[in-house]
């Protein structure tokens, strides 16, 4: 990947992580995977990016072992355990973005299914644990702006949705 050569002389795990997820759009594609998006056309409609960029990013994520691709024709992309292991970093970035841009009014809220809401450190406020993403449900928060997008993914995500479960889009 293009960043690799630039960061190669940094003896640092952050540099290695960024070689894989630091490309433009890559983290947003992975976010969509956590939210249950699996098909090329759905990523494209939700992210509003070119087919070429999306295609290159998905290709790289499969090559780097973060996604699997199954089926031909209209393949389905799913996070591997390596991809799922990015959840704490993604959640921490989300929280930071929320506090910075919509303080006091998060765009999305997260709940440990059948237990309690997640606090800003990702811990369930009821049981004190860090639930795995497959035990977390996302729903729009008070800072969400539903007027921004009306593609099928955005519309589906106006309802609470369990992470990693495929969105019912068609």
């Amino acid at each position: 990947m293009p960043l690799g050569t630039d960061y190669a002389r940094q003896d640092c795990s952050l540099a290695r992580a960024l070689e894989i997820v630091g490309e433009r759009w890559t983290m947003l594609i992975l976010r969509d995977c956590f939210l249950g998006v699996r098909r090329f056309t759905d990523f494209q409609a939700h992210l509003d990016i070119s087919r070429a960029v999306l295609s290159a990013r998905l290709e790289a994520l499969v090559a780097d072992g973060l996604l699997t691709r199954t089926g031909s024709g209209h393949p389905s992309y799913e996070l591997t355990e390596t991809g799922i292991a990015l959840w704490p970093a993604m959640f921490a970035l989300l929280q930071w973005g929320d506090r910075l841009t919509t303080p006091g009014a998060p765009r999305r809220l997260y709940r440990h299914v059948g237990c309690g809401d997640l606090g800003p450190d990702g811990r369930c406020e009821a049981c004190g644990r860090h639930p795995a993403p497959r035990d977390v449900e996302a729903r729009p928060g008070p800072g969400a702006d539903p007027t921004l997008r009306d593609d099928a993914v955005s519309v589906a995500l106006r309802q609470p949705h369990r992470l990693l479960e495929p969105l019912a889009l068609r």
Copy 2:
């Protein structure tokens, strides 16, 4: 910043966060700030990037409120509380990069000063808390490769160093 326009139609705090820290090199500059780098020439020697890119990134980080610049001539850059609040996200990305690229042999180890080592979730293994970065000491781990760089910052970081304290370089 360039990414802003692209991500502007994403109703998502991750997109907002990436508008600020998603530019190439930005997270590595912030990592250096946590490690105690404060001067332009030291960032440049440690990161091996062009003056123009470094200058643009520092400028943007000051404008976005993540760094303060003090002094003229050879100004000093320091993380603000907003910048310091990125620590959980940065630590989580570091840990993910370590597990992926040097499994079982982290490049850097982190310790809650006067207490215990940090586990992969950033919690102190002795007291169970998430210490603030100013209470954390970094040191080279078994996966570090000291042959990669010999600039003054890299040499100074071969010793344990408390985060956010300025590195003694001259």
